[in-house]
Amino acid sequence: MSVQRVDRIANPWGTRTPVGPGEPWPERVDELLVEGADPERWVQTASILHSDGDAYDVAVQDGRIVGVRGRGVDRVNRGRLGPKDVFGWQANASPDRLTEPLLRRDGELRPASWDEAMDAIVARSRALLEERGPGAIGFYTSGQLFLEDYYTLAIIARAGIGTNHIDGNTRLCTATAGEALKESFGCDGQPGTYEDVNHADAIALFGHNVAETQPVLWARMLDRLEGPGPPRLLVVDPRRTLPARRADVHLAVRPGTNLAAMDALLHEVVANGWVDEEYVAAHAVGFEELRETVAPCTPEWAAEVCGVDAHAIRAAARLVGTAERLLCTVLQGFYQSHQATAAACQVNNLAILRGMLGRPGCGVLQMNGQPTAQNTRETGANGDLPGFRNFANDEHVADLARVWNVDPLQIPRYGASTHVMHMVRHLEQGTLPFFWVSATNPLVSLPEAQRIRSVLASDRVFLVVQDLYLTETAAVADVVLPAATWMEKTGTFTNADRTVHLSERAIDPPGQARADLDIWLDYARRMDFRDRDGGPLVHWHDPESAFEAFKACVADRPCSYEGITYARLREGSGLQWGGERLYADGRFFAAPGECETYGRDLLTGGLLDETEYRALNPEGRAILKAAGFVPPPEEPGDEHPLRLNTGRTLFHFHTRTKTGRAPQLQAAAPDVWVELAPADAQRLGLAEGDVAEIASARGRIEARVRVGGVREGVAFVPFHYGWWDAPDRPSRAANELTITAWDPVSKQPLFKTGAVRVTKLADGDGRPAPAPTNTASAPVDGDLPATRGGPQAEVVERLP
C-alpha cells in the first residue's frame, strides 16, 4: 500500500488506479482530517452534494465534524471521494446557520418559538382548507432530503391535505430521467449499474459532463480509459468538457438540437443493420413507428440542424452501432434542453435496438442530478404516486388508499400532479395562496428569476421556507423553519444506480434546528390527520419506523426495498434495490396492470389512455417511442445572436448554499463568469477577464469573460451564483436570462435553450475570469494561473 497527499482542488479526480475490462475496481481510500484532529468515532454516511452516492465516514470529535474518509468496502466509490465530498461538510458548522424559527411580523422576519411558528402554519392551513379546499396548498421540496422525509411529506400532502400540488426541485434535475424511463420501460427504475463501466467496450455520454457532475464515476471511467483494453468514448456536448477531450468522437451540437442528433444516430443504426432484430422482436414494441420517424433523419440533415459534421455523426453512429458492450449515460445536457424526454428516450431506444440491456457492460444510466432525487420518485414527493404507482390506474390508487387506510377519493388523481412551473402560475394568479418550500432555493434556481421573485415575495402568498440558512428564498418567506441537515439527522437515500445508503446522526443540530422528518411529524400531529378508522394517518415516529412504513408501501412494486434494513446497511455498506441490473431477463415493468404510466405523446405531452396503451400490446416489452425534431422556443436573432447555455461547475452545487460556505470549494470558483468561444470573443472585442453584460429578452447580468472551449455561437453561464453573499451587487443569477418554457413530457425547464446578447462593459484589470482552469471552463490561454487549493486542500490517498 502507498500513501500520498494530493491537492484535490488541483486534481479533483485523484490518483489513477487503472483497470482492464471486467476487472474489479481497486480501492483507493481518501481521507481528510483537520489539523490536530483526534476523532472519537467515525459515523457512516454518503454524498449529499451530487447523485453519485459516494459512501464515506465522518470523523467526530467534541460534537463537531473534523474530517471524512471514503468507505473502501462500498460498491459505489471503493473509498474515493470527490471534492464536494471531501470539503462540503464544513458548511454544517457555518456561523450563519439558522438556529431558531423566524416569523414575519410588521414586514420583518423576527425570532419566534417553534410553537408560534407551527401555530401560524397550522392556522393558515386550516383556514385555507376550510375556505378554499386542498387546492390552495402546495408543497415544493428538494433532492437533498432523505427517503423518510419525502415519504412523510408525500402522505401529508396527498392523503392529509389531499392536494395535487406537490413537486420537488428534482423537476429541475431528474424529471426527464424518470419520465424517459417510464416512457420506454413502462416504469421508472434505473436499468444499469456503475459496474457496467468496468465491462463496457464503448461508453456514450449524452449531455453528461460526468467529470464535474459525478467526479468519482468519472474517476472510474478514467481508470478504464487508462487501463488495458479501454472502451471507446462518444461525447455529445456543446462544450469541450474533460470527457470530450478524451473522446473518440465528440459531437458539439448546437444547444437545443439534441433530438435531431439522436434521430440521425438512430437513423444510421437502422440503415446500417446494427439492430439486434431478435432482441427487438422478443422484447420491444413500436419498431415500425420508430423506423418511420427516423427515416428522413440523415446525417446530412442533422449536420445542418446541429451544426456538426455529417462524418462525425456517422462515426458516432458506428461507435455505438458496432459496440459489443455499450453503456449509455444521459444528464442535464439533454434533460435541461429542448425536447428533453424525446431525446432521452432515443438513448433508451438505442440500447433497446442494440439489445444492450441487462448484461455486464450493457446498460443505460439515466442519471440523476441530486443526491436523493431517486427517492422523490420512489416516495412520490415529486408528484408521482408512491411506489411507481400509476395515477390513471384505479387499482393502483385503491391499493395506495388501502396502504394508507384512507378513502380513495381523498387521494387526488385527476391528472398528473401539479409540477412546479404550474404551481408558480397558480401562485401568480392567486389561486395557490400557501406554498411550503423545503431545502431548496427557487428564487435563484427557477427560470426567469425576476418573475419568480415578484411571485414569491408577493403578499398574496403565505410562504413557508424550511432550510439551513437564510437563503434568497427564505429571506422573503413569512415563516422560516431552521432545519437540521445531513449528519445531524438519520435517514437513507438512494443514488443514481439504485444504491441505498444509510446516513447516521453524528452531531447535534445548531440551536433549535430540527430534523425535517420531525418538522413534518409535528405538522401532521398538529393538523390531526386521521386515517379512515380514526387512527393517526402518519403512524410512524422516527426515521427507522418511517423507512419501514415506506417499505410496506412499495412491497409489491418494482422498487421494493425488501431485505434492505437499517441493520444491514449499518453492518455493511450501500445496497442496491432490484439487484445489480434490472431487466436481465428482457422483461420490463410494462404490462398494463403493472406500468407506472400509459405514456404520453413525446412531441406534445398529450396523455395516452389505458386502451391506447393496451393497443400497443407491451405486456412485458419495452416501448420504442420517438418524436421528430421541432425548433426550440427561442432561437438567436439580430437582437440576441448567441445561444445561452447555463450549467454547473465541479466545485459547486445548486445555489451554493453549502458549497459557497466551504472555503476550498468557494475559492476554486468564487464568482460568476461567462464562457465564450475564441471567435465570438474576438468578434465582440472581448478578452479573458473583461467585464461583459449578458442580456436576454428577460433580464441581464454582468460577468467576467472566460475565453474557453464552448462551441462557437454559444454563451455558457454557471447558474450557482445568487445574491446571498453579494447583497450589494445587481443579481448575477443565470436565471435572470433564462426563458420560461419546459419539456412537454417531463415538465423540466429549458435551462439550456435561449438567446442572449453579450456586450463589453469594461476592460479586465489583468485578472482572469473567476472560473476554474481544470474543468470544462479551462481557458484557451494556457498561461493563466492554474486552479489549485494549496495545503488546505491536501487529501490523503491510500492506494493498493
Binding site: G135, G415, M421, R425, L603, T604, G605, L607, P744
Partner: protein
C-alpha cells in the same frame, strides 16, 4: 364525386384549427407551455394544409379556406384558459371527424394517394386533440375549485 367538398371541409377545419391556435397562444402568453405548444401545433396544422394541397388541386378544391372565426372569450385567469382550450378542442374535434369522412371517401374512391395523406395528417390532428384534453384536465381542477 363529392370528394372536392370533403377536401374543402377538411381544409377549412384545419385552417380554423390554425386560427384558433394563434388566438389561444396570443391570449395566454402567461401560460407559457400553452403559448409554446400552440406554436408547435401550428406547424403541424400548416403541414397538414400543405400535404393536402396536391390532392386538393387534383380535385379542384383550391379555393381559400374560410377564415376561422375567433373562439369565444370568457373571464380572466384559469377560467379563460379553460374556455379557450375547450373551444380549441372543439375545432380539433371538427377537423378530426372531417378527416374521418374524407378517409372513408378516399377508400370508396380507391384513391391511394389521398388515403395516404389522410392517414398521415389525421394522426397529427389527433395529436393536437389529445393535447387539448390533457391540458384541459390539468387546468380544470384549479380553475373550477379555486
Amino acid at each position: 364525386m363529392k370528394l372536392d367538398a370533403a377536401i374543402a371541409e377538411v381544409r377549412a377545419a384545419e385552417a380554423a384549427v390554425a386560427g384558433a391556435l394563434d388566438a389561444v397562444g396570443a391570449r395566454h402568453e402567461g401560460d407559457h407551455d400553452v403559448f409554446h405548444m400552440t406554436r408547435t401545433l401550428r406547424r403541424l396544422a400548416d403541414a397538414n394544409l400543405e400535404a393536402l394541397a396536391p390532392v386538393a388541386e387534383r380535385y379542384g378544391a383550391t379555393g381559400a379556406p374560410d377564415p376561422a372565426p375567433e373562439p369565444h372569450r370568457a373571464a380572466d385567469g384559469g377560467l379563460a384558459l379553460l374556455d379557450d382550450l375547450r373551444a380549441l378542442h372543439l375545432r380539433y374535434a371538427e377537423a378530426s371527424i372531417d378527416w374521418v369522412l374524407l378517409g372513408q371517401g378516399a377508400q370508396a374512391a380507391r384513391d391511394a394517394e389521398l388515403l395516404d395523406v389522410v392517414s398521415r395528417c389525421h394522426a397529427q390532428t389527433l395529436r393536437g386533440l389529445k393535447w387539448t384534453v390533457t391540458r384541459l384536465k390539468e387546468t380544470a381542477p384549479q380553475a373550477l375549485t379555486s
